[in-house]
């Protein structure tokens, strides 16, 4: 194994938060490596579109700006690499097209973003059912429609963006099924209005959807999706039980976002449960430093705040690293960034509130519904284990295999914790979160071992006979 490459700073994740962090640190003269699983920077929100030149949309332009700035910076760019191990020190091991790579740095900024929360319902495992964020990837990064007749469902502004995107590409949106009532949007409006360009963008999406006469069904949720090898129809219902059946060939659905906080958990940073911020997040200082010295978490992975605050949080963390290393930074830069962060709070908090998990949505899951997709574990099995006295989330994992599959509990974790909390009448804090374990993502054994000679394996001394 080659010895690890040393940097001043390693940044994990090249979305708005990680990208800005890397640029800021490099500008302060630090040696920085930026690692991302995707083949280009931008994260999910500013994902590189499949076609050049840059599209006219604002998020496309911002993504292009970030990519161009990184390309012309001194940041070492390591795209297309899957990080599987992060250990004390900090050492980061990743796999990519050129094999395995290790790098070390005294400072680590984690900007690993979020993944989608989808509250389970019968048929959510059916092909053709996918996340809202998945639909944005298809539309933006691949220039593809999720289907010809698409039901868009869930909660939050992403529904409007996806529905508008489908219409713009010539697809048909059967309906938008919104868990929120209209009043929910109206209540959020003053907060959203604090960021006029973003409000205008959202209003544009909404306008396009309404102009197409697509029904926007408020206060309803998807009760069931049916099909044989692909979703063919969905039943939507209100809390009071009135139902509609919609015919479709795709259902895109998202009930908010969950922070991807696996790295701080793996490094045993102090975590807390914050419903507004999407779930378990690290305790942070004003500089986004965790309880583990020199480990920083920024962007949605440190709590759902959206792209607006993500970039700023990345820059603030990078400035803190630069200061720790004795680099001169612009005297008023920190104050300016803090001001921008504070001004964005009202908007970000309003969006985060829309995207946070609701206990009532989880309580409604039927007993036969599959909760853990990887291991096909139903709600009734989780409830039975809870009723038998198992109240720790890792214990539930042991007895049901829930969360033991290849997604490593990312898709079901928030729901299972909520179910155990409901069943045991314990708080989410008491129920806890999955223990952090490597690899951070499944990695092919063949790539992990590479080519080697048996004689070179550093086999430890045998145990006594």
């Amino acid at each position: 194994m080659t010895s690890p490459q040393r940097f001043d700073l390693i940044v994990l994740g090249a979305g708005p938060a990680g990208g800005r962090a890397a640029l800021t640190a490099a500008a302060a003269g630090l040696s920085v490596i930026l690692i991302d699983e995707q083949s280009a920077a931008g994260g999910q929100v500013w994902r590189k579109p499949w076609a050049e030149p840059a599209p006219a949309r604002a998020d496309g332009r911002e993504g292009e700006g970030l990519r161009a700035a990184l390309d012309s910076s001194d940041v070492t760019l390591a795209y297309g690499r899957r990080v599987w191990s992060v250990t004390e020190g900090f050492r980061v091991d990743s796999l990519g097209p050129e094999g395995s790579m290790s790098c070390v740095a005294d400072h680590l900024i984690v900007a690993t973003g979020a993944h989608e929360r989808v509250i389970p319902f019968p048929g959510w495992t059916m092909p053709g059912v996918m996340g809202l964020a998945a639909a944005t990837v298809l539309l933006k990064a691949e220039g593809r429609l999720p289907g010809k007749r698409v039901v868009v469902a869930g909660r939050g502004p992403l529904m409007a963006q996806v529905a508008a995107g489908i219409l713009a590409k010539g697809g048909r949106v059967v309906a938008v099924v919104d868990r929120m009532p209209l009043t929910g949007w109206l209540k959020a409006l003053p907060a959203l209005a604090t960021q006029p360009p973003l409000l205008a963008q959202g209003a544009g999406w909404m306008g396009r959807v309404l102009a197409s006469r697509t029904p926007w069904i408020f206060n309803h949720h998807v009760a069931e999706a049916r099909g044989t090898e692909r979703v063919g129809e969905v039943t939507v219902a209100s809390a009071s039980g009135d139902c509609h059946v919609l015919s479709c060939d795709a259902l895109v659905i998202g009930d908010g976002l969950v922070p991807g906080s696996e790295v701080p958990r793996l490094l045993a940073a102090r975590m807390r449960f914050d419903r507004l911020r999407g779930g378990w997040i690290p305790d942070l200082t004003a500089d986004f430093e965790t309880s583990v010295p020199q480990l920083f978490c920024v962007g949605d992975g440190a709590g759902i705040r959206g792209a607006l605050q993500a970039g700023t949080s990345g820059e603030l963390a990078a400035l803190a690293v630069a200061r720790k290393l004795g680099r001169k930074t612009e005297p008023d830069q920190g104050a300016r960034l803090r001001g921008a962060f504070a001004r964005a709070s009202r908007f970000s908090d309003a969006v985060a509130a829309m995207l946070s998990g609701r206990t009532a949505d989880v309580a409604r899951i039927g007993p036969d519904t599959i909760v853990c997709r990887c291991e096909d574990v139903r709600r009734s099995e989780i409830d039975a284990a809870t009723a038998e006295g198992m109240h720790d989330i890792n214990q539930i994992k042991h007895v049901t295999r829930c969360g033991m599959g290849p997604c490593q509990g990312r898709m079901c974790g928030d729901t299972v914790q909520e179910l155990v909390s409901l069943g045991s009448r314990r708080s989410r804090e008491e129920v806890g979160a999955w223990t952090g374990r490597p690899p951070l993502r499944p990695v092919p054994l063949g790539e992990l071992v590479g080519s080697f000679d048996y004689g070179d394996i550093p086999v430890p001394e045998p145990a006594p006979l």
């Binding site: 191990s85 004390e88 720790d392 214990q395 990695v443 063949g446 071992v449």
Partner: protein, 372 residues
């Protein structure tokens, strides 16, 4: 002061649960105190291997009995822990390993383990998934594995059936002994019992300290890994001569890779960090033995704590100088042999003569302490 219980067991791993179970079935009123939940430390996170070929020679007779216990778990435990009985192979890829294997297999055979040395061709008949380069293999038909993570559930149900009071999420912090009764402090609430068993895994060192006994326990931090599901690629339990590999594929298709490579950890924080180079080393051994594992992906890796005494033999028997107090733990390959050793101790506590000798800790204590 009267005792509420005949027996208090501190520590809810395999050792503590088994002692509690058989003591209760023997008519005792038993309470089990566990700071977390049952079998969630070493007993739940180990590799689940039930093998003679990694067992210490002195423990082979016990391991054979224990293997039979595991194989019939549905009968005496009453609940399935996914036990699969199959052939086991210990492989040698180099001349040095072949020499080590010949010697170690011979010693284990003398102790009663039915291990035969076979060549590569014969080994391949036993395990068609083997990679090239095998020089020699130890073949044992008494081998197999369990689903370690199901252990806690099985014992929980059995203990409840047997009438054991289970106090989970209850940390014992000290023990007083007065008027022929132990009083175990559990977060302010005393648990009173006439007899006491210390079965706290790597934490028995501190627990014996409550009784004024100093027994140094080394903490091993064993690294483990599991693949995601894949097609069947092996049908035996595989090890290597040095013992630094254990490998088996479960019926649902995942393969657990172990062997005792050391991660970072301690009593306070548990196994908190896996070292990437050691993980890769362990996985390389696995892929060298069974090349088709390279098709799969690594799903998860973790570390569990194993307790080891100075002579790496068990601490199972009475606590010297403290009447009615016992210790049960530090059994090398404890998952394999634990149930039998713990059952022997339960026999002793019930006033019967155990079928095989225990491993009293007197041998491990300072002469001064022994005199006192």
């Amino acid at each position: 002061m009267s005792a509420r219980y005949d027996l208090c067991v501190v520590g809810g791993g395999i050792h503590g649960c088994t002692v509690a179970l058989f003591a209760a079935r023997g008519g005792m009123k038993v309470v089990l105190v566990e700071r977390g939940s049952l079998c969630r430390e070493a007993s739940g996170v180990n590799a689940g291997t039930l093998t003679m070929q990694m067992t210490r020679v002195a423990l082979i007779p016990y391991a054979l009995q224990a293997h039979a216990m595991w194989a019939s778990a549905a009968t005496w435990l009453g609940h399935d822990v996914g036990v699969v009985v199959c052939d086991g192979l210990s492989l040698a890829f180099t001349e040095a390993e072949a020499a080590l294997l010949s010697y170690r297999a011979g010693r284990r055979r003398e102790a009663g383990a039915p291990i035969d040395l076979i060549d590569a061709k014969a080994a391949r008949l036993v395990e068609p998934g083997l990679g090239p380069g095998v020089l020699l293999a130890g073949h044992c038909k008494v081998d197999g594995f369990a689903n370690a993570y199901l252990t806690g559930l099985a014992y929980r149900r059995a203990l409840i059936d047997a009438g054991v009071t289970i106090l989970e999420e209850t940390a014992a912090t000290d023990v007083q002994r007065s008027q022929g009764c132990f009083e175990v402090d559990t977060m302010g609430v005393p648990v009173k019992a006439a007899r006491l068993v210390i079965a706290g895994g790597v934490w028995i060192e501190g627990m014996l300290g409550w009784l004024g006994v100093t027994l140094p326990i080394k903490v091993l931090v064993n690294q483990l890994a599991v693949t995601e599901r894949q097609r069947p690629v092996m049908r035996t339990v595989i090890g290597i001569a040095s013992g630094l590999l254990s490998l088996k594929q479960y019926p649902h298709g995942t393969t657990v890779i172990g062997g005792g490579w050391q991660a970072r950890g301690d009593r306070e924080r548990g196994g908190y960090e896996l070292l990437p180079d050691r993980l890769v080393g362990n996985v390389r051994l696995a892929c060298h033995a069974i090349p088709a594992l390279k098709e799969a992906r690594l799903a998860r890796a973790w570390a569990g704590l194993e307790a080891e005494t100075r002579d790496a033999l068990p601490a199972v028997g009475p606590v010297p100088g403290v009447p009615d107090a016992y210790v049960c733990g530090s059994v090398h390959s404890g998952y394999t042999s634990g149930p039998y050793l713990a059952r022997l101790l339960a026999e002793r506590i019930l006033g019967r003569e155990p079928a095989m000798p225990l491993f009293p800790i007197d041998r491990l204590l300072d002469p001064i302490e022994r005199a006192a």
